[in-house]
Symmetry: C2
Subunit: 156 residues, 2 copies
């Protein structure tokens, strides 16, 4: 486990990658099966990774934190050259796309929070005009028309 002098550029075993990246060995196998990372094999069929994989795993983890599904991450990573480390430009391209996605999700959540703030204040029980209610009303209106909107007292 300790790094001996002269071994710094050795390829890494799964266990080492797991320890250094913070993901389980089984997860690395899983990622490999999904094409997110790649390995070579030694003569005994054991995986050997170049250090580049650490960056890949790091990128995967950041993308996941932003809420991107693994399949999309795999798509994005597949646009990178297999056997060289991602460049600045590569990273910029990927992360810019993910940032747009993230911005979107943040904005949706903020909108939701605003609605929630409104509705916590108003009690959200009698308001026909509550923004949180509107989407539901729209759904109701897919029926026979506005007549479906509940005209009864307060509680639907």
């Amino acid at each position: 486990m300790t790094i001996k002098p002269g071994e710094r550029h050795r390829q890494l075993t799964v266990g080492e990658v797991a320890a250094r990246s913070g993901v389980a060995v089984s997860t690395l196998h899983f990622y490999e099966s999904k094409g997110l990372i790649h390995s070579e094999r030694n003569r005994g069929n054991q995986r050997r990774y170049s250090r580049e994989v650490l960056r890949r795993v790091a990128i995967i983890k950041v993308a996941q934190r932003t809420g991107i599904p693994l399949a999309s991450i795999a798509d994005a990573l597949s646009t990178l050259p297999q056997e060289r480390a991602p460049t600045s430009a590569d990273w910029r391209r990927l992360s810019a796309g993910w940032k747009a996605d993230l911005d979107d999700r943040i904005n949706k959540l903020i909108g939701l929070r605003d609605q929630l703030n409104c509705c916590i204040g108003c009690g959200c029980l009698s308001m026909q005009e509550c923004p949180l209610r509107n989407p539901w009303d729209e759904l109701s209106e897919q029926g026979p028309g506005p007549r479906l909107l509940d005209p009864s007292p307060a509680i639907d």
Copy 2:
């Protein structure tokens, strides 16, 4: 499907609840199996819902939009009286808890976005001090110590 005069306070069938709430019939069955909603049965064993269920489903959907897992929603709803409609105070209590959760998630995502902004700019490949890298470094440090930090050129 049309509402006839004098039927406005009738109990609702699953199909009607599905149409008005925008969730599938199977989802209503599922929610019932998880204790999120409740129904009575008519003499032919078919589900009959009070209108109160529409609000419950609406609450469930809002909570889900904020990212709360169904099991937690079920817990929260179980603190409400079964057979009366949730009051303002009930709703306030639930939604306040969810809002705190939502705030938390938003803040985390915003932090992530800031880091991403930083790292898009810097290319995130050579910076030892990149905030996005720090969590990974911490993980590395769980090993034999700082010596594990990769001292080699730029790309780990």
